[in-house]
Amino acid sequence: MAAPNGTAEPTTESHNLPPVVGINFGNSYASIAEGLAESIANEDGERQIACALSFHGEQMYIGSPAKQQLVKNSENTIIGFRNLIGKKFSEITSEDITPNSAPVIQHPDEPDVAAYKVEVLTTPAALPTKKTQTPAASAAATPAPEPVPTDRILSVSEVTTIFIGSLLQSASDFLGKKIQGAVITVPPHFTPAQVEALEKAATDAGVKVYQTLEEAAATLITTSSALWAATLRADRTQLYVDLGSSSLSLSVVENREGLGHVVASSSTTSIGANQIDDKLVTFFAADFTKKNKVPLKVCPATEVQDKRAEAKLRLAIEHTKRTLSASPGAATCSVESLKDGYDFTGSVNRMRFDMLAKPVYSAVSAAVSDLLKSAGVDAHQIDEIVYVGGTSCLPGLDEEIGLSVGFPEDVATPFSMGTVVGGGIGDPTTILARGSAVQAALLHTLEEDDLRAAFSTSVEAPALGATVALYVPGAEAGIVALLKDTPLPARRVQVFEVEVTESSKAFGFELWEIEQTVRVEKVKPPKVVYSDDEGGADEDDEEEEEIEEKHKETKKVTLLGAATADAKLAIQTKGKGPDAGKWFTTVEATVVVTEAGALSFDVKEIGEGGAVLSIEIS
């Protein structure tokens, strides 16, 4: 009773999310997720948090406010530090360093360590007060010491620690509790030393790193979730296209009910969205010059004025690119006082933009073709293309890859499934963060230490040598039970509604090993008949080019076994439908292949006392 009324302490927690996060730490943008459909927004309301750190006077800015500082305070603004983590100063080449950022120098105290030098204002320590104080000459208070400009040296790992610390702060603000663990994605081009350095930087920021996750693995987790794959087969071959600002990584992954195996992968830092940015900035700069008769030379800019204008344009086109990805119409780009006091407003439509970005698009699709060729995988064997990274939101890229690599028309992409727009589940910008959040939650709840240890070692599993398919005698097409390269042991269950005849009630299955190939057919394109006869003579001279048409084919290779049984629970369909009078029974077919390669196939009629049929192959 005597207790005071009310309390500021929250008495109950509002949700049951584990206090762990997944962090996608890119070179230009980072995102954090906690396992829900969307990623967490920071206090500025951004889900894509710019990897930038800026010092101005006594202030430190992180994220997009720091990016704004690039215009006037670029020498104290640090961007593009992710790629430098764990690299020795002597290893850093000029290509690694993002232009227009704070200078990267050799750390004055530590040998061969890269560091950024920024100028900050620091307040000198107050003068020590003596014990016997002489009375002040005037009544006015002693003025506080003036902050003086000093150089601050920040090693790359310190910068990373500060940045990850701010990400964690945003996450714990969102979750309302302290973050205990995190899973961080690492790009494929990271060396083990870099991974270690990243892990250390994150640990210094006050979070336990459960795992540093390959980007392909994070993508695998997200794309295997029930939400994503609702309409897709659980066993499929995927192509991951991860186009970041400074790198392109591609992987072909065999996804077998969530178990992934990378068939082939490639990664290059020579293709990236920065090139698209350059093109777009040049385009708008030319537009500005044309409109205002003010010369503006960008990419690279030499004069200070031009440099500032370029920085302004670069900030502005972020918005333009996002608009282009989201809507089919024209997107504007407006900058106030771009140069010499002239404002600039320009617009670019999607077609013009795609033309500008065409070289990058073609480079990406060439890389995809190369990868497929080197892996010996035909484009028709890819069931799904997954786009990762902000730049791959561009629809033009999807069209270009689809056309020039020659994927089948029914290949699933986030665009064809319509999940890419508006933060849908296919949103390429959040895939990695979400995947690592799932992984973090998984590792957080995992109790068995031996399993936890397996996450950091490489696990090899035996895999099926050939695809196993089920055939119902009398039917042409088979049903794939277990795809080639499925890690063993494996089990697949399929429910059949089997039709039987009134007289025999027998049903049967054949088990075949099959081979799925792609048949290439050369087809002559249909002749275009012009209504006028003018070009009639020329047409005959022209060599008709043949077009390759590809078809998926399956070929039965070996019969593994066959069996029949008599149904006991068949029911005759009643009513007037097309099935009236026919007899059906429902059976559940289970195929299990053990680690040693022994196959057992069991068919059970669903219900009590149902018929059983089985095939065993050791």
Partner: protein, 396 residues
């Protein structure tokens, strides 16, 4: 997983012989260490030896564990023991206009806690009730089913209970108002009504002294301004406890007040005299009730003291001690004649003896106190002298 429909077996089909056929040779694949599927694979191969039936059992157990983990972390909100009380139809039919008469604790579902409810519990209880009875929810829940009735609002009196909840929360959330309500708690009043000296005496005869008066004083303790409040204790409580108990309850300082019964000043009238008159009336009424309450408590303590078997016991114990002492003294002085004579003593004699003994004890106590003080003085003097001596020695 969709169901696949098949055609019937062709007539005359016999299963072809495939004995001796083998699966293609197995290859090796490096797995990406990611996702729930990977964990399942590890469990299957490392823990269950590749057996799916064993794995299924394990998976079910694991799922149970995870569910439990989620539930215990905060899936089910900690309601601080507020719980869910059944809502009777009378309770739901309460009229918010008659809020002065309603039992606010029952409205918030706290009648099992009443005055013991903490502010945090009240908050939780209010939130629970609001979630359940908010008018917005009600309209949805009882939306007319038939198209004929759509558009008609069938829930005209819908938010009356919600208003009651708000009133209850308003009252209980305010420290002052909650004390006023607690002073006039309907449950308490009911108990007081039933509690008469005769009923208490009967209860003592039926249940025993402690069982009757223990809860009574526990109930009264809530009004104490001082904490902690000494409770009745057991039958074998020490003399100090019993004395302390009665000492406390005879000097009980209660915060119980009676503003709750105040007559409302007539809102419509601006007449100052009217207001003053009502206020004066209220004040005197409050004072009267307060006095009444104090008298009630005092008579209750009187009654308790009168019925307390422990007083008798303590007296007897004292007597026994005294007698033992006396016997010891007499035994040492003149032999063993006195103990034999003791049982025949009359009551008057006993009383007198007791008084004498008490006085003697008192005298003894005083003596000992004096002696102690003298000893302390002496010690002090000695110390002073010592110090003086030491100083003298030092100067010398």
């Amino acid at each position: 997983m969709s169901t696949i429909r098949t055609t019937p077996l062709p007539a005359g089909y016999t299963a072809p012989d495939a004995s001796g056929s083998k699966l293609s040779p197995i290859s090796k694949r490096k797995l990406l260490p990611a996702g729930p599927a990977f964990v399942n694979h590890l469990r299957l191969t490392l823990h269950n030896g590749g057996s799916f039936s064993k794995h299924d059992e394990h998976a079910a157990k694991e799922q149970e564990r995870l569910d439990l983990l989620n539930a215990s972390s905060s899936n089910i909100e900690d309601d601080l023991g507020v719980g869910d009380e059944p809502e009777s139809s009378e309770l739901l039919a309460l009229d918010p206009k008659e809020w002065k008469k309603q039992d606010h604790y029952a409205v918030l579902g706290l009648s099992h806690l009443r005055y013991k409810a903490t502010p945090a519990q009240i908050k939780v209880a209010q939130r629970k009730k609001v979630l359940k009875h908010h008018p917005d929810k009600k309209v949805k829940a009882t939306e007319p089913d038939t198209s004929l009735l759509t558009g008609l609002n069938l829930n005209t009196n819908d938010d009356s209970f919600f208003k009651c909840i708000q009133k209850a929360h308003e009252t209980l959330n305010n420290f002052e108002r909650r004390r006023q309500f607690d002073s006039a708690d309907p449950e308490l009043l009911e108990e007081l009504e039933e509690e008469t000296p005769t009923s208490l005496k009967a209860a003592v005869a039926a249940k025993g002294f402690i069982e009757t008066f223990g809860p009574v004083f526990e109930r009264e303790a809530r009004f104490s301004k001082k904490e902690p409040v000494p409770q009745l204790g057991g039958l074998d409580a020490s003399k100090e406890h019993v004395e302390g108990f009665y000492d406390f309850w005879y000097n009980f300082d209660s915060w119980r007040s009676f503003e709750w019964y105040d007559k409302e000043v007539n809102e419509g009238s601006d007449n100052r005299d009217d207001k003053r008159y009502t206020e004066k009336k209220n004040k005197s009424e409050r004072a009267r009730r307060k006095k009444e309450d104090n008298t009630r408590l005092r008579s209750l303590v009187d009654l308790t003291l009168g019925l307390d078997p422990r007083i008798k016991r303590i007296k007897q114990e004292e007597k026994a001690a005294r007698e033992a002492k006396k016997a010891a003294r007499a035994g040492a002085g003149s032999g063993a004649s006195t103990p034999a004579a003791a049982p025949v003593k009359s009551k008057a004699e006993e009383e007198a003896e007791k008084k004498a003994k008490e006085e003697a004890e008192k005298a003894q106590r005083e003596d000992s106190k004096k002696a102690k003080a003298a000893a302390a003085n002496a010690a002090k003097k000695a110390r002073r002298a010592e110090r003086a001596a030491a100083e003298a020695a030092g100067t010398a």
